[in-house]
């Protein structure tokens, strides 16, 4: 875009934004860590990251909906201390008021600004036409399809002529074709001369979407969210997904996002140097999901390009990456430069009969997944092979929020159950060692 090329005035800025929540144990838990970036006039910026990277939190800090723990958000050089007046937002869930018609929903923001009724009607009419909603003015949101609802979301945001348009995963609740259609129309509006909005900031977990829309892509890392990479997208518009340069960029970003968390602050290199359950969280992956992924991988010769795999499976990063993380954590696959490669163990895991598969899984999980290992060891060390879940939750709460601690334990329970390492009784909240569980190898004192 020609508009983005020259150095333009800065609309919004994140100035050393850090956001942390307090864990139930009282320790701060960082979601965003020292984020700095600027949104300039004339550009579209995409914030890309896995779930848990705090990208929505960052968007909300800049929109003035939540306060950063330290650092500040600036709008036109003034600190943001309340809902940002220069920002309109499009929500993943549309966030339309179901009891208002399309027109009333669109007019609401103008009413709040005390625009006189005649002008209000006029402007709403124009926004509705612009976004292709004419004829639906008096419909209620529940009568519309998802795509049409999101159009109302766009019309409502654009009618107030915001300085910056924020989009929080705007297309991820829509089906593939509708999403593609809306993206194209959004870009057409953006290219239009009289478009009043000066910049757009989109949060997404879809790599292709980011490359398709943005002039700049910021890749956030997870736990805590940091800007891991910043990439300028200099491809000519309209962009074609099938060109080599497009694919190369997508591959590059895949590589960045699947790379193991390299630049983690060096934990003091203690003797064993095994990561604790807090340093290395459990990926949100089910055993069935990982098995399915490995099976497909094997069927394709044991090696496949991740973007291609995701594309064929109609998956997005958020769905696929946890499975990839899980498989690599267990040593069933390795990732190299956006290529997923199955290992010998992974091959056996797919081919072997159910009992062998379970044994292999149990051995690998107890060895390589820190939380599973910690539970297994603690149960083996306990008097009767019984421990209350509260014991593990307490430990996890040192590094996770209440909810996330529960989530981590639930995954570990799921893995442990599959591997028949331990049993869990939901009524009493007790974890119990399975009789056939293999003895842990190393020192049973962990965590």
């Amino acid at each position: 875009m020609t508009r983005a090329q020259t150095e333009q005035a800065c609309i919004l800025a994140a100035d050393h934004i850090t956001k942390s929540f307090t864990t139930p144990e009282g320790a701060p838990l960082a979601v965003l860590d020292d984020i700095n970036f600027k949104l300039r006039e004339g550009e579209i910026v995409a914030l890309l990251g896995k779930s848990g990277s705090g990208k929505s939190t960052l968007l909300r800090c800049l929109a003035g909906l939540i306060a950063p723990t330290s650092g500040r958000a600036l709008y036109r050089d003034a600190p943001v201390v309340a809902a940002n007046p220069g920002v309109a937002m499009v929500f993943q869930t549309f966030a339309l008021l179901p009891w208002l018609t399309v027109r009333q929903n669109v007019e609401l923001g103008l009413e709040a600004r005390d625009v006189p009724p005649a002008e209000r009607r006029d402007r709403a009419e124009r926004a509705i036409d612009l976004i292709g909603l004419d004829g639906f003015e008096s419909a209620y949101p529940k009568e519309l399809s998802g795509g049409m609802r999101q159009r109302v979301g766009f019309a409502r945001a654009l009618v107030v002529e915001p300085d910056a348009l924020f989009m929080d995963e705007p297309f991820s609740a829509l089906d593939v074709l509708t999403a593609e259609n809306l993206r194209t129309e959004l870009l057409a509006l953006w290219a239009h001369e009289g478009f009043p909005t000066r910049a757009m900031l989109i949060v997404t977990h879809n790599i292709e979407e980011a490359v398709l829309l943005a002039d700049r892509v910021l890749v956030l890392s997870s736990n805590p969210g940091r800007i891991r990479a910043e990439l300028a997208v200099d491809l000519e518009r309209p962009r074609d997904r099938r060109t080599a340069s497009f694919e190369a960029l997508v591959d590059e970003i895949y590589g960045i996002m699947t790379g193991r968390a390299e630049e983690r602050p060096a934990v003091a290199p203690v003797a064993a140097a095994q990561p604790s359950p807090i340093d290395e969280p459990m990926p949100t992956a089910t055993v069935g999901g990982m098995a399915g992924l490995l099976e497909i991988l094997l069927a394709r010769g044991g090696k496949e390009d991740l973007p291609a795999l995701a594309d064929d499976l109609m998956f997005e990063v958020d769905d696929l990456l946890p499975l990839v993380d899980g498989a690599t954590l267990l040593g069933f696959a390795t990732v190299d430069n956006a290529d997923l490669q199955i290992t010998d163990d992974g091959r056996e895991f797919v081919i072997a009969d159910i009992l062998t598969t379970k044994e292999l899984f149990a051995r690998k999980a107890a060895e390589r997944a820190p939380l599973v290992r910690a539970i297994n060891n603690a149960l083996a060390a306990s008097m009767d092979g019984n421990l209350p879940e509260a014991f593990f939750l307490d430990i996890l709460r040192r590094g996770f929020s209440d909810e996330e601690a529960r989530h981590q334990l639930d995954i570990a329970i799921d893995w442990g159950r599959y591997g028949e390492l331990y049993e869990y009784d939901a009524n009493t909240g007790q974890l119990r060692r399975e009789h056939r569980a293999p003895e842990p190898e190393q020192d049973p004192v962990d965590a």
Binding site: R60, A63, G64, L65, I66, A67, V80, V81, A82, A83, N84, P85, V87, A88, M89, F91, Q92, T93, F94, A95, L97, P98, W99, L100, L108, G109, E111, A112, R113, D114, P117, Y140, P141, K142, R149, R156, V160
Partner: protein, 576 residues
């Protein structure tokens, strides 16, 4: 309709904490304060303005019914206003929430009829020379039976507002006023209308009880259908009681048809699911109204007024909160606020206790607790027997869609019908057979309370998905096994809600059920209810205060020790 009554969120409570004790103390103090104010002014009634009883001429009945209906609607208006103010304050101010919510919890559990004496004294003192005081006391009694459920429902929808809607409203910079009417009220409309309708039904009972009342050896009666029944009962005119029952049924059905049913159907448009509900409640009255030109005629003058109000309220500011708060100052404010509240309550409690100690001695508490145990036993029997009788019936009805369609409106009317209209018949029966009210009181208490169990069981049974039932059929799960594995777990959440409400209703009813007059007979059952009722009639206010406090402790204690646990179990394990 599959909703339980009250809606389930109404009984969602946090654990009992220290602040609850504080708040309990606050209510104690408040009651005592009202009582003191009432006692200091001892103007006698001007004869001719109020009567001890009213005529039982059937020709007067339509007029009386209209007067009663007016009271009901005034109370409803007050309840809605109260709900908006109180619910908003509790949901929007962190500091207010800490006090208001436990306060509401206890208010909801306090026996409203015990209140009545104190409020009557208070309102009569306020308006010593007219009937207005009595009117207000009656309206207040109805109000207290309606408001709490509605307020809880409103508060709960405010704090569970979808986050994205909240964010959208803030980014659009809606003013406080706009946000309230465009987001807060519509978003809670369904729960508000439902709880309002059902509480309104419950209100008839309190209307009946509050229109004719004896305080401090003096009887008062307001023109109304409730006092008509009381008068007819005092003169042993059972035929006229029957007549009043007929009028009452017509009134309940009529209000339902022209007011609540249309409102329920209309409120459907506020449903937040972005898809159509499977079964839309319909109302003939609403359809007729919608087809007429009336809505347009009403809307035309209202629109500019609404626009004007939008502009006038603009100076109140935008519905946003500052992002950064001064933590130290907030803490200091909290501490100051807490200390101030605690000091006031401590001072008030000590003087209230002294009042009780001076008049009846603190031993009265022990005595009242003993009597409370007897009433408690009655409540247990009421709940247990109602459960044994109505759960199988309710399940039968709820499992059959055809039956449920006819039965649920009928049960709703039965629940609305004030049970105290039937007391004269039972009193006559007890006198004729010589059965003691100690046993008969149980039946009287059950007359009103049982319907909540039936109603909620039906709602629960209807909510069991048909595929689960088909699966059980398919695997031949029948008889006791089917009850244990499917039906009881399936109806459990709705049943718990019904059980809490029925038990609360039974406690309340004990105040009128343990002391019954018919003709020249006065029947008394030993218990906390009659203790409160007798001390009220004899003007022993210290005893009344003691009785109410003890009954509140029973109800609140049971809610937290028993019902809240069952409720949590229902939420975590048995929610479908």
């Amino acid at each position: 309709m599959r909703q339980s009554f009250p809606t389930r969120d109404v009984w969602r409570r946090p654990r009992l904490r220290l602040v609850d004790l504080l708040v309990g103390g606050a209510i104690f103090v408040l009651l005592y304060g009202l009582l003191r104010v009432g006692l200091t002014v001892t103007h006698p009634f001007v004869p001719g303005h109020t009567q001890a009883s009213i005529s039982t001429d059937p020709a007067e009945l339509p007029y009386y019914a209209l007067r009663s209906l007016t009271r009901m609607f005034i109370a409803l208006g007050l309840s809605v206003t109260f709900t908006f103010v109180y619910g908003t304050a509790a949901a929007r101010s962190r500091r207010a929430e800490k006090v208001l919510i436990p306060l509401l919890d206890i208010l909801q559990s306090v026996p409203i009829l015990g209140f009545l004496t104190i409020t009557v004294t208070f309102f009569i003192a306020l308006f010593p020379h007219s009937i207005v005081g009595l009117e207000m006391a009656s309206i207040f009694a109805i109000f207290t039976s309606q408001a709490w459920n509605m307020t809880f429902s409103f508060y709960h929808s405010l704090i569970t507002q979808p986050r994205d809607l909240d964010e959208a409203a803030r980014l659009m910079r809606l003013t406080k006023w706009e946000r309230f009417w465009r987001l807060d009220v519509p978003g809670s409309m369904i729960g508000l209308v439902w709880n309002g309708m059902m509480s309104f039904g419950g209100g008839w009972f309190f209307l009946t009880a509050s229109e004719a009342i004896t305080v401090n050896k003096r009887s008062y009666a307001l023109p109304g259908i409730g006092s008509y029944v009381a008068a007819a009962s005092a003169r042993s005119e059972l035929g006229r009681v029957l007549l009043a029952i007929a009028v009452m049924i017509i009134m309940v059905l009529g209000v339902n048809f022209v007011f609540w049913r249309p409102l329920v159907a209309w409120s459907e448009k506020f449903r937040n699911e972005q898809s159509e509900a499977a079964e839309q409640p319909r109302s003939i009255a609403l359809d007729t109204l919608r087809r007429s030109r009336v809505p347009g005629l009403i809307a035309r003058p209202v629109r500019p007024i609404a626009a004007l109000l939008d502009r006038l309220t603009r100076p109140f500011g935008i519905a946003d909160r500052p992002l950064v708060a001064n933590v130290a100052r907030r803490r200091a404010g909290d501490a100051l606020f807490g200390i101030a509240v605690a000091v006031v309550i401590a001072l008030g409690s000590s003087s209230a206790l002294r009042y009780i100690a001076d008049n009846v001695g603190l031993g009265a508490f022990a005595h009242a607790f003993g009597l409370g145990a007897i009433t408690f036993a009655r409540v247990i029997v009421v709940v247990a027997v109602s459960t044994l009788v109505w759960v199988p019936v309710g399940v039968k009805i709820g499992m059959s869609p055809r039956l449920a369609r006819y039965a649920q409106p009928i049960v709703q009317v039965l629940a609305s019908f004030p049970a105290n209209f039937l007391f004269p018949f039972f009193a006559a029966f007890l006198i004729a057979t010589g059965i003691s009210l100690n046993w008969g009181g149980i039946v009287l208490m059950a007359l009103g309370a049982q319907w909540y169990i039936l109603f909620n069981t039906i709602a629960g049974a209807m909510s069991i998905p048909s595929d689960l039932r088909e699966a059980m059929d398919n695997f031949g799960v029948r008889g006791w096994q089917r009850w244990r594995r499917l039906i009881i777990p399936g109806i459990f959440p709705a049943y718990v809600t019904g059980g809490i409400t029925a038990a609360g209703g039974a406690w309340n009813a004990s105040i009128v059920a343990e002391l019954v007059t018919y003709g020249h007979h006065v029947l008394v059952a030993k218990g906390l209810g009659s203790y409160i009722a007798l001390s009220t009639a004899n003007g022993q206010f210290a005893k009344t205060l003691t009785g109410i406090v003890v009954m509140s402790i029973y109800v609140v204690g049971l809610n937290h020790l028993l019902w809240r646990r069952l409720y949590r179990l229902a939420e975590t394990r048995y929610s479908l």
